[in-house]
């Protein structure tokens, strides 16, 4: 039974992260997603320290705000301090992650719920320990699953109602500005959603590996699709297939489940890339030989 719940929960993590990842990727802000996912760490630690509960609302709010703060800091460093975009991302996330690590090593000494390993690859194997039971015996599934479902609802609704805005922001921000749209508002809305996703995924997949869910499936989808809706759909498909095959691979080899899922995701990406390269080059060859024969016939 725990197999089923792990795969289901991880799939929703993959969908949540993948949907937002598409928009990040199209805006050429993939590494900002990486930065946010690292930067929520101090927020999570602080919230946990004060509330003592890993799934409280306070925790989510606090940690989400840290992610938005990171997005703001990156913006500030690159625009006001005139540090290169790349470098301001690097500076911001290493600083916030370092703050989080210092907090963990000095406050959370010997704590079982939040430690460095958990930061890296989450606790997906043990999510079923924290379950929701109604009437003493009706088992409704792990708590993490419901947290993810709520996040999915928020993300889904925001994307559904704000689809036009996010799309415009992703493809042509100058045009959006010329229409008088407040692009800053949409930008921070997206950043808040990304931040929320990484926060709720923290418990399941850890702060570092969530980047794999955020970037790899959308990039794979981008290789094979030409329309945004298509890309979103393929992202979910690639994400879920990586989750399922990654899980069974991990069980078979007795290794980290999350690590294995992201690794499979990466393998799928490179497989698609290489497959496409081979197909393109053979297509070019066929076209070339066709042209040659046409040329020969014309010369006869």
């Amino acid at each position: 039974m725990s197999d089923f719940w792990i795969i289901l929960t991880a799939s929703i993590v993959a969908i949540n992260a993948g949907l937002l990842g598409c928009f990040l990727l199209l805006r050429k802000m993939a590494m900002v997603g990486d930065a946010i996912s690292h930067a929520v760490l101090p927020g999570i630690v602080v919230a946990y320290y004060f509330s003592g509960d890993k799934t409280s609302g306070l925790l989510l709010l606090g940690a989400t705000l840290t992610g938005v703060l990171a997005a703001f800091l990156i913006d500030f460093l690159s625009r006001k301090a005139k540090i290169q975009g790349d470098a301001s991302i690097g500076i911001t996330y290493t600083l916030l992650f370092a703050v989080g690590m210092i907090m963990i090593s000095s406050w959370m000494q010997g704590n079982v719920d939040i430690d460095m390993e958990c930061v890296l690859y989450g606790d997906i194997a043990t999510i079923h320990m924290d379950k929701i039971i109604v009437d003493d015996n009706l088992y409704l599934g792990p708590r993490a699953f419901y947290v993810e479902i709520i996040a999915f609802a928020i993300i889904g609704l925001s994307l559904f109602f704000g689809f036009k805005g996010f799309k415009l922001l992703a493809f042509n921000i100058d045009y959006a500005r010329s229409l008088g749209i407040n692009t800053g508002k949409w930008h921070y809305a997206l950043m808040t959603l990304v931040s929320l996703t990484t926060v709720v995924a923290f418990e399941v997949v850890g702060a570092v590996l969530v980047v794999g869910f955020l970037i790899i499936p959308p990039a794979t989808a981008q290789l094979v699709s030409t329309k945004l809706r298509e890309m979103l759909l393929f992202t979910c498909l690639f994400g879920i297939s990586a989750v399922i095959s990654g899980y069974y691979l991990a069980v078979w080899l007795n290794v980290s489940i999350t690590g294995s899922m992201v690794m499979v995701s990466g393998i799928i990406f490179f497989a698609v890339l290489i497959f496409q390269r081979i197909r393109n080059s053979s297509k070019q060859k066929i076209e070339f030989t066709e042209e040659l024969t046409q040329y020969d016939q014309a010369n006869k």
């Binding site: 990727l25 993939a30 210092i102 460095m116 794999g212 999350t258």
Partner: protein
């Protein structure tokens, strides 16, 4: 205090290793990071650092123990592979560089985690230290590693000295480097290899997640203090080594805390100080400069307006009217509080005198206002005669440049145009 004395007197021989190790690691990465920063490839370091993890694990599996040589070569191999893959993805598909970095970084890191858990569950003995590579533990540096770090530093410093010219040209303008026949690909290959070397040396102390800070942050901080590459390299090294040593000390004083986060924290604080307080590019210096410029422009515009007022009454040769501030506003629109501030400042500088709330130009004020009007009109004439601009567009250009034209340029303009005195035409 006692721990501090213990630390600096190397009472614990380990401290000596840590200090020397930090100096080597931080200098190597700061040097290489400066070039990476100039090439706008700072985040490549991030991909490389994460990608070292599977290499280390592979090296461990192949050697069956923590053999430094195996670990290092494994790390070097996967680190190198990661930069190659990033370039491959960018060149062969529509994926952009930052996404490519993210893909490579997370796939390799995931592979590393898989291998790490494989090792942990695989019953290998002596695998305890591998965890240190994740978050960094400078205290774990031993004598053999120290020699390796020193060799790496020597290689990096040697290459930079030998290929200094080529590195600069490739970093600043690789197209130009190609055009003058430099072997750009080989130089880039060398730079990438040095980057991987520097990062591979550093993960022992900083850990894979934070290692990219050692590449990015010192260079970004040093950039605030100098425009010269040599000085920038030096400053980056100083910042980095300083934070490395302080970080190592804090980690030593509070045993059990990892070194990496403290080093990064101190580096970031240095960057923050640089960015606020740098005398050249700091936010404070820029703000003060902007304010000074703004007030200069305001004062000069007021003087100009007074001149125009006289000109309207055909009194531009005397410039001796006494006028109220309202009359200045008739010639040119100012914000009234700004105007008041500007007038007060002009009085303090002796350009303007006051007489019961009315104002008049002093001797200096007259020459100054003539100078500015003259610069403005000289420039208008220049644009009109020497460029293809028409009379409707020359004014705005002159309005901007009149405040910064130097006396030398003024003389040049005079010679070029053959104009003496103030041109009558105003556009």
């Amino acid at each position: 205090m006692q721990t501090f004395i213990d630390f600096i007197s190397f009472k614990d021989p380990n401290v000596f290793y840590v200090v020397i190790g930090m100096i080597c690691i931080n200098s190597s990465s700061a040097l290489i990071g400066s070039f990476a920063y100039l090439r706008k490839r700072s985040l490549i370091g991030d991909a490389v650092a994460h990608s070292l993890l599977p290499g280390i694990c592979l090296g461990f599996i192949m050697a069956g123990e923590k053999n430094m040589i195996y670990l290092f070569f494994g790390a070097f191999f996967t680190g190198w592979l990661s930069t190659y893959l990033v370039d491959y993805i960018v060149n062969k598909s529509k994926i952009k560089q930052d996404a490519a970095i993210g893909i490579v970084l997370s796939s390799f890191f995931a592979l590393g985690i898989v291998l790490l858990t494989f090792i942990q569950n695989g019953g290998y003995s002596d695998q305890g230290g591998l965890n240190h590579f994740l978050f960094g533990q400078a205290a774990a540096i031993n004598k053999d590693e120290l020699i390796l770090f020193a060799v790496i530093l020597a290689v990096i410093v040697g290459s930079i000295i030998l290929f200094y010219r080529s590195f600069i040209i490739v970093s600043f303008n690789s197209d130009y480097a190609k055009s003058i026949g430099l072997p750009v690909r080989s130089i880039e290959f060398l730079m990438t290899s040095l980057t991987v070397l520097a990062i591979a040396a550093g993960i022992q102390a900083l850990g894979v997640v934070l290692m990219s800070a050692l590449i990015v942050t010192p260079a970004a901080a040093a950039r605030f203090w100098s425009h010269k590459l040599k000085r920038m390299l030096f400053i980056a090294v100083v910042f980095s080594v300083f934070s490395g040593l302080l970080g190592a000390y804090i980690s030593y004083a509070n045993s059990n805390t990892p070194t990496g986060p403290w080093v990064v924290m101190i580096l970031s604080i240095i960057t923050l100080i640089s960015f606020v307080g740098s005398t050249k590019r700091g936010i404070l210096a820029r703000y003060l400069k902007a304010r000074k410029n703004k007030s200069k422009i305001l004062l000069e515009n007021i003087l100009k307006a007074i001149y125009h007022y006289h000109e309207r009454q055909n009194l531009e040769n005397d410039l001796n009217l006494v006028l109220a501030s309202a009359e200045i506003l008739k010639v040119r629109r100012f914000d009234t509080t700004e105007l008041q501030k500007g007038l007060n400042q002009l009085i303090r500088r002796g350009f303007i005198g006051r007489e019961n709330n009315n104002y008049f130009l002093t001797e200096e004020g007259m020459t100054e206002s003539k100078r500015i009007v003259r610069l403005h009109r000289l420039w208008e004439q220049y644009l009109l005669k020497r460029t293809s601009m028409d009379i409707f567009h020359v004014h705005s250009g002159a309005e901007a440049i009149e405040h910064i034209l130097s006396p030398e340029i003024e003389k040049e303009l005079e010679k070029e145009l053959g104009i003496v005195g103030i041109p009558k035409e105003d556009f």
